[in-house]
C-alpha cells in the first residue's frame, strides 16, 4: 500500500467522523440518518396509505430533528408515533346518545364498503348492552340489500323496517323512526344504499334522508357514521369530504381491518376533514366490532416498520 492510499484511508475515517453528530460519537449501534434512510422511511410511511403529504411532513420532521445523527430505530419511531397518537386522540365515548327518546344513527358509505355488516355489528353491540334496537333497511336500490339486513335482523332477533325494492328510501327512514318511537326503542339504525360520492343526485337523496330523520325526533340523527373500507387509498379523503358535506358525518367505522391493509388514510382524513374513527370492523361475525383505540392503531400502523429498516 502506497503512502497516498494510506493517507486516503485515514481521511475517510475522518470524513465519517465529521459526518457524525457529536452526541452519537460513542454509540456503537444504530444507523446514520442520511437521504437513503429518509427515503426508506418515506416509502414505509406511504405504504400505510397515510398520504404523500402527511408522509412528507413526517419525513421532514425527522430530517430536521435527526439529520446526520446515528439513531436507533425505536427513537425515530417513538417520535412519529407520539405525533400521530396526539393527532388521533379523541374522547372515549364513541356514541352520543340522546337524552330522551330513541338515538337515531344513520349509516352511509360507498358501494361495498361494508355498511350492512357494520350495522349488524352495531346492533349486536347495543343489544348486548341491554338496549332495544330497531333497524331500518333504507337501501332500496341494490338487489337483495333488504334481504341481507333482514337476515341479520333475524339472527339478532331485533325488529326491522323495510320497503319494497325501488321505493323511496326516505320513506323507509321515516317509518323506522316512527317504529322506534312507537315501540320505545333506545337505538334506531338506518342503512342507506351505497353510492359513490361523486353521484350528485344520489348524494342529494342522502341529504333528504338525513333531513327526514330529524322530522320526528329533534336533533336526529344523533350520529352519522361513514363506513370506510380499510383497503381504500387516498380516495377515502374525497369520500369523507363529500359525505360530510352532504350529511354532516360524525365519525367513521373503519371496516375490513382484519386484512393486510392498515387503513392509514384515516390519518389524512383526520388531518384534512377532522373526522374521527369510532369503531373498527375486524371480521365477518356480528361481534367483530371493536372500539377504535388510537394507541394500538398507531402501533399496528408501524408494526413491520422496525423490521424493514
Amino acid at each position: 500500500m502506497g503512502i497516498l492510499d494510506k493517507f486516503k484511508q485515514g481521511l475517510s475515517k475522518t470524513k465519517q467522523l465529521l459526518n457524525t453528530d457529536i452526541r452519537d460519537l460513542f454509540k456503537d449501534e444504530g444507523r446514520l440518518v442520511d437521504e437513503a434512510f429518509l427515503d426508506e422511511l418515506f416509502e414505509t410511511l406511504v405504504k400505510t396509505d397515510m398520504g404523500v403529504q402527511a408522509a412528507q411532513e413526517t419525513v421532514d420532521d425527522i430530517r430536521t430533528g435527526f439529520r446526520a445523527r446515528v439513531v436507533r430505530m425505536e427513537d425515530v419511531l417513538q417520535r412519529i408515533k407520539e405525533k400521530l397518537k396526539s393527532l388521533l386522540a379523541q374522547p372515549a365515548a364513541p356514541i352520543d346518545f340522546a337524552e330522551s327518546g330513541p338515538t337515531v344513527i344513520m349509516v352511509a358509505g360507498v358501494n361495498g364498503c361494508g355498511k350492512t355488516t357494520s350495522i349488524a355489528k352495531l346492533g349486536q353491540m347495543f343489544i348486548s348492552d341491554g338496549k332495544k334496537v330497531v333497524l331500518g333497511a333504507a337501501d332500496t336500490f341494490r338487489a337483495a340489500a333488504v334481504e341481507q339486513l333482514t337476515i341479520w335482523a333475524d339472527r339478532l332477533q331485533t325488529p326491522i323496517v323495510t320497503g319494497p325494492r325501488g321505493s323511496d328510501p326516505a320513506s323507509v327512514a321515516h317509518r323506522t323512526v316512527a317504529r322506534a318511537l312507537e315501540t320505545g326503542a333506545d337505538v334506531c339504525i338506518v342503512d342507506t344504499a351505497g353510492r359513490l360520492q361523486t353521484q350528485q343526485g344520489l348524494m342529494q337523496q342522502l341529504t333528504k334522508i338525513h333531513r327526514v330523520l330529524g322530522k320526528q325526533v329533534p336533533d336526529a340523527p344523533h350520529e352519522v357514521l361513514l363506513v370506510l373500507d380499510a383497503t381504500t387509498g387516498q380516495n377515502g379523503i374525497s369520500q369523507a369530504r363529500h359525505f360530510t358535506d352532504a350529511v354532516q358525518c360524525t365519525g367513521i367505522i373503519l371496516a375490513k381491518l382484519d386484512g393486510t391493509a392498515k387503513g392509514g388514510v384515516v390519518v389524512a382524513i383526520r388531518q384534512q376533514v377532522g373526522l374521527p374513527v369510532k369503531y373498527i370492523g375486524v371480521g365477518e361475525k356480528a361481534e367483530d366490532l371493536a372500539l377504535f383505540e388510537p394507541v394500538s392503531f398507531v402501533d399496528a400502523l408501524f408494526e413491520d416498520l422496525g423490521k424493514s429498516l
Partner: protein
C-alpha cells in the same frame, strides 16, 4: 375517471412547458412532481419507483433535453410508459369446449356479484347463453342478489339455498347447465380476505375441481397501497387470467389500476363504470393512458356512439343535414341521442382538449339543462320548431315560456344557441369524423374563453385578406356596377 391524477400530471408537465431548453435540474424537478402525482394517486410505491426510474433514464437523456420541445417529448414518454405499465391486454374470453367456465373472485365488497351480472349480460350480447352460479354462500342474501340480477337480465341462475359447500354447488351447476341449454358458466364466489387461509384453500379447491377457463380477480378501483398485496396473494393461489376493475365511475385515482399489472403480470381486461348492468367496458391501456394525460379518448367515444346511437335515425338526419335542413326537432333528437352515451361530463372527458371544460361545467347540472331545453322545444308549434328565429315573436315567446315553465329570456337563449348549432351542423355535414371532432373541439375551446356565449354564431372568414390597393379596386368595381344599374333603370324609365 382519474381526474386528479390527470390534473396533477398535467400540472407537472406544465411546469416544464414554455421553458425552451431544459437543464437536467429543471427536468428532475418536473419528474419529482410526476412521482408525487403517482403516489398521491395510490400507485403502489414499488411500481412508482420502477416507473420513475425508467422515465428518468429516458427524460434526462440528451435526445429529450436538447429537443425543441422537451415537455412534449416527456408527454410522449410518459404516455408510452403508461401503456407499457398497463398493457398489453388480450380481450378475448378464450371460451373453449362445450361448457366453458368463468370464475370471479376477490375481496369482500369489491363488486363481484354485480360484475357477475354485467359479465353475463356482455357474453349474452355476444350470442352466448350464460348461466350464473351463486357460489357465494357466505354473505347473507348474496344468492338473492344474484337471483334478482338474473331476473333483470333474463338469464338463468343456479341456486342451492341450503347448501354449505360451494364446491358441490359448482359441480351441481355443471350438471344443471348440461341439462339445460346454457353453454357458459359464470361462478360468483364469496368475498374473502387474502390472508384467510381456510377460505383461500376453499377457493383453490373450486379452481381445482372446476378447472375454469378464465379466472378473474375483481378489484375495487379505490383501493390503496394494499391492492398489490391482495392481487399478489390471489394470483399465487389461483393463477389469474385477468382483472376486472370496478367503481371507476367515481373520482378514483386509479393507482390500483396502474399497479396491478406491474405486480402480478395480469392485465386489466374489463372495467366497471357504473351501477347499471350495461356499465362494463373493455379496458384499453393506450386509450386509458391518453385519458390520464388529458389527450382524450375519441376511439371509445366513437365506438360507444356506434353501439348506442340509432343508426337509422342517424342516417336520416345525415341526409337532411346534407340538404341543409336542421330544425329544432332534429336538435331535440340529437340531445336524446347524446343522452344515451351517458353523463355529459363523461363524454366531454373523452374528447381531446375538452377535459378542462369539465371542471368549468362541473357544478352546472348539464342533464337538467338538457331536460329544460327539451321542455321548451316541446312547447313549440311545428312551424316554430322549423323556423324559430323568424317566427317566434314576443307573444309566441311568452306562450312558449309559460308552457315550458321557464322565463321568456330562456326561450330566446335557446333560439340563439340553436342558430349557432345549426350553423355548425350544416358546416359539419360534409366533413369526415376527424374534421368533425376538430370542429367540436374548436367550439369547446371557444366556449372556454367565453362561457356565457356558449354556441355563438361563428363569423365566416372570406378566406383572404385584401391589400389596400385591392380593396380600392373592389370599391371602384362596386361603384361602377352601381352606376351601371342606375343607368339601366333610367333608360328603362325613359322607355
Amino acid at each position: 375517471m382519474f381526474e386528479s391524477l390527470s390534473q396533477n400530471l398535467s400540472s407537472a408537465i406544465k411546469s416544464l412547458r414554455g421553458r425552451g431548453r431544459l437543464t437536467e435540474a429543471n427536468m428532475r424537478e418536473g419528474l419529482g412532481l410526476v412521482r408525487q402525482a403517482l403516489l398521491e394517486a395510490d400507485v403502489s410505491f414499488s411500481v412508482a419507483k420502477d416507473f420513475m426510474a425508467r422515465l428518468t433514464e429516458q427524460a434526462i437523456g440528451e435526445r429529450v433535453l436538447k429537443s425543441l420541445d422537451p415537455s412534449e417529448q416527456l408527454v410522449g414518454i410518459v404516455h408510452q410508459e403508461l401503456i407499457n405499465l398497463m398493457g398489453p391486454v388480450d380481450h378475448s374470453l378464450h371460451l373453449r369446449g362445450d361448457l366453458p367456465v368463468l370464475m370471479l373472485c376477490g375481496l369482500q365488497g369489491s363488486g363481484k356479484t354485480t360484475t357477475c351480472g354485467k359479465l353475463g349480460r356482455l357474453v349474452h350480447g355476444r350470442g352466448r347463453k350464460p348461466m350464473l352460479v351463486a357460489a357465494d354462500l357466505q354473505r347473507p342474501a348474496a344468492i338473492d342478489q344474484l337471483q334478482v340480477l338474473g331476473e333483470q337480465l333474463g338469464l338463468p341462475v343456479y341456486v342451492e339455498t341450503a347448501a354449505t359447500d360451494p364446491v358441490k354447488v359448482c359441480q351441481a351447476a355443471v350438471r344443471a347447465a348440461k341439462a339445460s341449454e346454457a353453454d357458459l358458466l359464470i361462478l360468483d364466489t364469496a368475498g374473502r380476505l387474502h390472508v384467510d387461509r381456510e377460505l383461500m384453500d376453499q377457493l383453490s379447491k373450486i379452481d381445482d375441481r372446476m378447472q375454469p377457463d378464465q379466472v378473474y380477480l375483481v378489484v375495487d378501483a379505490m383501493t390503496g397501497q394494499d391492492a398489490v398485496n391482495s392481487a399478489k396473494a390471489f394470483n399465487e393461489a389461483l393463477e389469474l387470467d385477468g382483472v376486472i376493475m370496478t367503481k371507476l365511475d367515481g373520482d378514483a385515482r386509479g393507482g390500483a389500476a396502474l399497479s396491478v399489472k406491474a405486480v402480478t403480470g395480469v392485465p386489466i381486461k374489463f372495467v366497471g363504470t357504473g351501477e347499471h348492468l350495461d356499465a362494463l367496458e373493455e379496458f384499453h391501456p393506450d386509450r386509458m393512458a391518453g385519458r390520464i394525460l388529458g389527450m382524450g379518448d375519441v376511439l371509445s367515444l366513437v365506438e360507444q356512439a356506434q353501439q348506442k346511437f340509432d343508426q337509422e335515425e342517424m342516417a336520416k338526419q345525415q341526409q337532411r343535414l346534407s340538404k341543409g335542413e336542421f330544425t329544432l326537432d332534429d336538435f331535440k333528437k340529437m340531445l336524446g341521442q347524446t343522452k344515451k352515451l351517458g353523463p355529459l361530463n363523461k363524454i366531454m372527458g373523452m374528447i381531446p382538449g375538452m377535459s378542462g371544460l369539465n371542471e368549468m361545467i362541473g357544478q352546472v347540472d348539464a342533464e337538467k339543462d338538457m331536460r329544460r331545453l327539451v321542455g321548451v322545444i316541446d312547447s313549440m308549434t311545428p312551424e316554430e320548431r322549423r323556423n324559430p328565429s323568424k317566427v317566434i315573436d314576443q307573444s309566441r315567446r311568452r306562450r312558449i315560456a309559460a308552457g315550458a315553465g321557464v322565463q321568456p329570456h330562456e326561450v330566446n337563449e335557446l333560439v340563439k344557441q340553436f342558430d349557432g348549432i345549426a350553423d355548425v351542423m350544416k358546416r359539419m355535414s360534409g366533413m369526415g369524423i376527424r374534421d368533425r371532432m376538430k370542429t367540436v373541439q374548436q367550439l369547446g375551446q371557444g366556449g372556454m374563453l367565453n362561457p356565457g356565449a356558449r354556441f355563438a354564431k361563428q363569423k365566416k372568414g372570406t378566406g383572404k385578406r385584401l391589400t389596400p390597393t385591392e380593396r380600392a379596386q373592389q370599391k371602384k368595381l362596386r361603384k361602377r356596377e352601381l352606376r351601371r344599374k342606375k343607368r339601366e333603370t333610367r333608360t328603362k324609365g325613359d322607355k
